[in-house]
């Protein structure tokens, strides 16, 4: 995935055309980024149905509010911001709702269309399970910075908090994840660094 990089028309140009009345432009823009936007929504809300709802809210909102985009950030940053907002919104609503176990469903969606080797899927599921133990704000920060690779400055725009807050949410989240994912590192890069000490034994 990740069709980042130079494309023409540029994201900004597509958005401009959309605002000018071009019927195709927004669709093209959205399709260009939708896998990443899906990833951020799914990982933030941890439920495929809610993620689909959140992404739909976000898409409609971006479609209608495109004229408000002032170009202070990249178009992708703006899109991610809208998706993260919609996702956190969903979570707030879900918090006010009796929990429905969606784990099986989630895992299926997360593993869907997966041609990865088995161990990569396991890693992904373990990571996703670990992510859902985090508070939503920390999770969103970690997803945006560590998983999607946004800079702290861009993440601050996306999450609408200061850069310091982004750093501290990420730091807290990494510390919490450490004991849950330490065993996975061997899988990923056998040759690398330390033994999988689980936060303790000298």
């Amino acid at each position: 995935m990740g069709e980042v990089g130079e494309q023409w028309p540029s994201d900004a140009e597509l958005l401009r055309r959309h605002v000018a009345g071009d019927s195709e432009a927004f669709g093209e823009l959205f399709r260009r980024h939708r896998d990443r936007l899906w990833a951020v929504a799914l990982r933030t809300v941890c439920d495929p149905e809610e993620a689909a709802d959140a992404l739909q809210d976000a898409m409609v909102s971006a479609f209608r509010r495109a004229a408000d985009f002032r170009g202070e950030s990249a178009v992708t940053t703006w899109l991610h911001r809208i998706v993260v907002n919609a996702s956190l919104d969903r979570l707030r609503r879900r918090a006010a709702r009796p929990a429905v176990p969606a784990d099986e469903q989630t895992f299926e969606a997360l593993a869907a269309q997966d041609s990865d080797p088995v161990h990569a899927t396991d890693t992904r599921l373990d990571v996703d399970a670990a992510l859902r133990t985090l508070p939503p704000q920390q999770r969103a920060a970690l997803v945006v910075v560590d998983m999607l690779g946004f800079s702290v400055a861009d993440a601050a725009v996306i999450l609408d908090v200061s850069a310091g807050t982004v750093k501290s949410r990420c730091a807290r989240a990494r510390a919490k994840l450490l004991p849950r994912v330490a065993h996975l590192r061997g899988n990923r890069s056998p040759g690398e660094s330390v033994s999988p000490a689980q936060g303790g034994d000298p």
Partner: protein, 292 residues
């Protein structure tokens, strides 16, 4: 304190690695890491968390989600085009837009809503829909029953009203304003609305629709499917009204809840159940808009 310190805990190390620890404290941690293999290993592990996360492949968007989003987007585009065309087509109607006072001003309705109309002042056909002037809400009464059987596939709007208009208006009115003991969604009647809501004019349509008095509408008892759906959609929010209507031709359950500012209106599609809200649209309307 001396140059040595006790082993920093994971949070502190994580802050340190994120550049959040400065000055003397940072220097102490730096020195400690140089001396303490265990903490140095922990710091490596922490750095490894980010690397691990970056390496996890992102899940591709499932096809069904992609299709759903494409459909919603197509509806948005169609609506934008339509409302732009509408603005161009009947410039003489435009001042009506500014007369949006009182009972919701003009609204968009599907033709079938207007079929029994007597009070309609001006009709301008635009793109298959009809723009009516205001003051026509009583006609909805007649339209409600006429609209029913249009889509028998849906559990919502098609069933014959079990209660007819028997739902006690007073009790309902109390709960609508949150002043009487809360009615659970199960007790709230489902108001059958004849309106086919459209994405491009949803807010205006909702504001008109919700102002129609309950006495002018057919109501019926919520099915268990609708109850489950409402619970899923509303969560713990106070449910003010449940309606069966259509949105872009699809049967929807309209759930109105009390929000922090105004009332939140959510339109859930036919797939709405206890586990999936299948939300098609969400709007906020002014508080107190609901007619008892």
């Amino acid at each position: 304190m001396r140059g040595h310190m006790t082993h920093p805990d994971t949070d502190v190390l994580a802050d340190y690695l994120a550049g959040l620890v400065t000055g003397r404290r940072a220097a102490m941690i730096t020195a400690h890491l140089a001396d303490c293999a265990r903490c140095a290993a922990m710091a490596d592990e922490l750095a490894g968390v980010s690397a691990l996360l970056a390496a996890v492949p992102a899940p591709a968007m499932p096809d069904r989600v992609a299709q759903r989003l494409d459909a919603v987007l197509a509806a948005e585009v169609a609506h934008r085009n339509e409302s732009e065309r509408a603005r161009g087509v009947s410039p003489q109607e435009r001042p009506a837009r500014h007369r949006r006072t009182g009972r919701g001003g003009f609204r968009w309705m599907s033709p079938r809503v207007l079929a029994p109309a007597g009070a309609v002042v001006a009709l301008v056909a635009v793109g298959g829909y009809v723009l009516s002037s205001h003051g026509s809400s009583p006609q909805l009464q007649g339209a409600a029953s006429a609209a029913g059987p249009a889509t028998s596939a849906q559990p919502a709007a098609s069933a014959q009203p079990a209660y007819g208009k028997a739902a006690a208006p007073n009790a309902t009115a109390g709960s609508l304003h949150g002043t009487s003991p809360l009615m659970s969604p199960a007790e709230l009647p489902v108001v059958v609305s004849p309106v086919d809501f459209l994405a491009g004019s949803l807010t205006q349509q909702l504001e008109s629709d919700l102002r129609v008095p309950l006495t002018a509408r057919t109501t019926r008892v919520a099915t268990t499917t609708i109850q489950a759906c409402v619970q899923r959609v509303a969560g713990r929010a106070l449910v003010l009204r449940i309606e069966s209507a259509h949105y872009e031709g699809q049967p929807v359950t309209v759930v109105v809840t009390r929000a922090s500012q105004g009332e939140e209106v959510q339109l859930a599609g036919p797939g709405c159940s206890a586990t999936s809200s299948h939300l098609l649209a969400t709007r906020t309307v002014p508080a107190g808009i609901l007619e008892p």
